[in-house]
């Protein structure tokens, strides 16, 4: 599964979905577009990972789905963050920050060492 642009870590996709849905409930396509938009096109969510991730999150009870009506009038499944999902988003966000900082740290030391 070669990703064209940035590779999304498994956990990070979940986090991005949660973050996107925290703003407002939306359907699967909307989520993928939103991520693309917010990352200014750097991150493109592969549909093959998006839907499994959505189902997985739903199964974990972090998001809920409901049938709604899309902009074009089609029946569509709209995903929404649950209470549990909000809590999870907070912890995961923090976890991600820690992780990202740690990675940054390692990368910068490695560069120094190489010098």
């Amino acid at each position: 599964m070669a990703q064209p642009r940035a590779d999304l870590l498994q956990g990070s996709l979940d986090l991005l979905i949660l973050k996107t849905l925290a703003v407002e409930p939306m359907h699967g396509w909307g989520v993928s577009k939103q991520i693309q938009l917010l990352s200014r096109g750097t991150l493109e969510v592969n549909q093959g990972s998006l839907y499994p991730a959505l189902y997985r999150l739903r199964d974990r009870g972090l998001i809920e789905s409901e049938w709604g009506v899309a902009e074009n009038g089609r029946r569509v499944k709209v995903y929404e963050l649950t209470k549990k999902g909000r809590a999870a988003l907070r912890t995961e966000q923090e976890g991600w920050r820690l992780f990202a900082d740690a990675v940054d740290l390692i990368l910068s030391t490695a560069e120094e060492g190489a010098r």
């Binding site: 359907h27 396509w29 839907y51 499994p52 199964d59 899309a70 569509v76």
Partner: protein, 877 residues
Amino acid sequence: MSWWTWTRRRLRVLFDKESLEHEMDEEMRFHLEMEIRQHVAAGVDPKEARRRALVAFGGVERHKEEARDVRGARILDDLVQDTRIALRSFAKQPGFVVTAVATLGIGIGGSVAMFGVLEASLFQSLPYPDSEELVLGRVTRSGQSGWVVSGRDWIDYRAEADAFASLAAVTPFDISHTAQGVGDAHRVRAMYVSPEIFATLGVTPLIGRDFVPEDGHAGAEPTAMLDHAYWERWHGSDPELIGQALSINGLPVRVAGVLPPDFRVLKDVDVYPVFHEDERWATARQFHNFLLIGRLGPGGTVGGAQAEVDGISGRLAEAYPRTNEDKGLELTPLREALIEDYRTVLGMLVAAVALVLLIACANVAGLLLARGNARAAELSVRSVMGAGRGRLGRQLLTENAILALGAGAVGIALATWLQRGIVAFVSMDQLGPIQPGLSASTLAFGCALCFLTVLGFGAIPAWRVARVGNSIALRGGTRATSDRSSTAFRRALVIGQVALTVVLLAGSGLLVRSFTALRAVDPGFDTERLLTAEVTIPNDAYPDDVATTRFFAELIDRLEVSPAVSDVGLATLLPIRDPGNDVSVSTPDAYGLGGEPTAFQRSVWPGYFDAMGIQILAGRDVERTDTPGATSVIVLSEQAASSVFGDDDPIGRTVAVDVGRDEPELREVVGIVSDIVTSNLEWGVSGAMYYPFHQRPSRSMRLAVRSSDAEATIASIVREELRALDPGVPLSAIATMDDVISGSVADRKAVMTVIGLFSSVAVLLALVGLYGVLAYQVTRRRREIGVRIALGAQRDQVARGVLRSGLRLAGIGLAVGVVAAVGATTLMQSWLYEVGSLDPITYLGVAVFVFAVTSVACFVPARRATRVDPVMAFRGE
């Protein structure tokens, strides 16, 4: 999310697949649509927009699969899906499913039933504590295994042998008595026992006391133990009965206690009276009436006890050469002794069942292969569309597992029914305490069998098909070349099936021939319309011989005047029904020298020979004037006479009969009668001697009453006359002579029927197998046949080709089968009567039969081959 929502969602994944799939479809379609719309909005041509969207999305189906994976329970999910596919495809081929399930079900059912019987008889321990310490003691003569032991010898073995913790003696047959105590006179079955019997078996009475050694001493008060069921039925479980006296045959017998429920010693009887050590039938060394049951002492072995017993037998032979020369005692573990009579029968049944199961499995394997070949195209398509080989294999295994489950269910249901049949059919009286049933281990065996059949006969075709499925891909549909090897495999299966069937047929053919020969044996007397029954009069009402004789004289007179009765015979023992004992008889000079001939003895009422249709060849019948005061006389059968006197005229000569005393009884021969079968049809005629009733009366007699016409309800007439004479005397054990004779060969008939049934099933299965292979072959070669016909081949030539290839399979199977049968049937020699295990008629019959039925099975596909329309054949592909 609560556990409930979670569970509901999981369940929904499993069972509400369709709506979930639908949702997923819809969601993904929406996604694509939005993508396309975006592209179109950006000014891309709609067609190109669609293409780009699809490319960006990737394989729709693959994403779906991935999404499905996320939903978890993938294996379960597949299983449910496989099951659905399997059921759907089964629903389209009900014939295949019914054949496969029924075939395997019969095989499994038979096997499970037999396993249950075997397990109960061979492996379950006897229902006595520490039953492995129990041994059965039987007599041997000149090293040959015999049966009953002399009571006097038993007393010596018991006194001298140290190997036993205790050694008891019991009568192996039940003796029928009239009991009276509370309520009506009724018949009871009695087994005489020595006092230590219950202690030996390790059982204590439910209520009352156990016997003590003194109970068996000479002159002790008669005592008996009651069977629980009898106590319940006849005495309303009255505890007051303990210590009271019951009247048995007019003698007061004190009730010592009642045994626990469901306990029995070898046989089901009502009362266990103790015999006294001084009773004549218990003390004479030449009278053999007992089986010994011993419990080995701590650490004792059967071998050790046997060595000690052999020493005692040697000393007895020295001390009492006349009676004990060459006599010994053989000890066998009780369980082993109980099953030895059934070993051959059980062996035959197991072999038959195993053969049927094998044939059934071969058939199903053949069916699966054929089906697999037919599905090769479908599987190839699925394989190309992305189904993994493992996935396909799993799918086929699931199908097989479903078949096996169905077959297992059918089999186990069938097993309960079959087992009841086997146990009822093959009476296992001697097995006594053993109760067969569907135990947990039997069920486990059934499940294991299912599993094995799936593995063995499902996995091979599944593997082949999975392989074939890939290799032939989409090339040629069902007409692939690579199924040649599977055809060879099916041919081998058919040859095997025919061979196994031949073995079964040969076996059952031999049994049928034996049975026919046995039923053709002339018993030597007229069995038609002959009713037999037992009349035993109590001692107290008929204290002496005079009263006894008067009673039977009156009974005979009453019956003879009845218009429904044409003949009445009265004897202590009736042929076949009650064999009785044979004792030695010789000229007075030859007596005691050893090697005297023996003859079965009975007392008969004058007119007995006429009534039974036994011819008086010389001299006269016994008569009412042959009273105790007159000369002691005897009537011999032809064979008995010639074994004593050779060619000399026996009339007027004197014979010496062993009656268990020191001196023989001397009697003058007054008549010679024709020989009859006394004990059983297999042994044929044997020598018999008849005392006049008036000189040797008995209170326990057998009536043989012939009715004047077939319709008469003679039993009720006899009963009424008896009641009119004395209501205190019951008429018991009523049976027609025909029934007695059928009963005497019932075991054989049962085994014959069961094996015959298995053989028929085997034949049917083998024919289906053969037919299947040929029919499939014709279908597969339709195009070729069409071409040949189009090129001018004669149609019957084509048919002959098919016929020939079928008959060649049958022929090879037949040849292999005959060789196997020759080996297998020698094992059943002991069950054959007047038929050798290599009986040419049987083998010829089997060969002709197999040839005939296989021809029919080949004929149908052969005919179908001739009907191939060349045009259709070309177009059909």
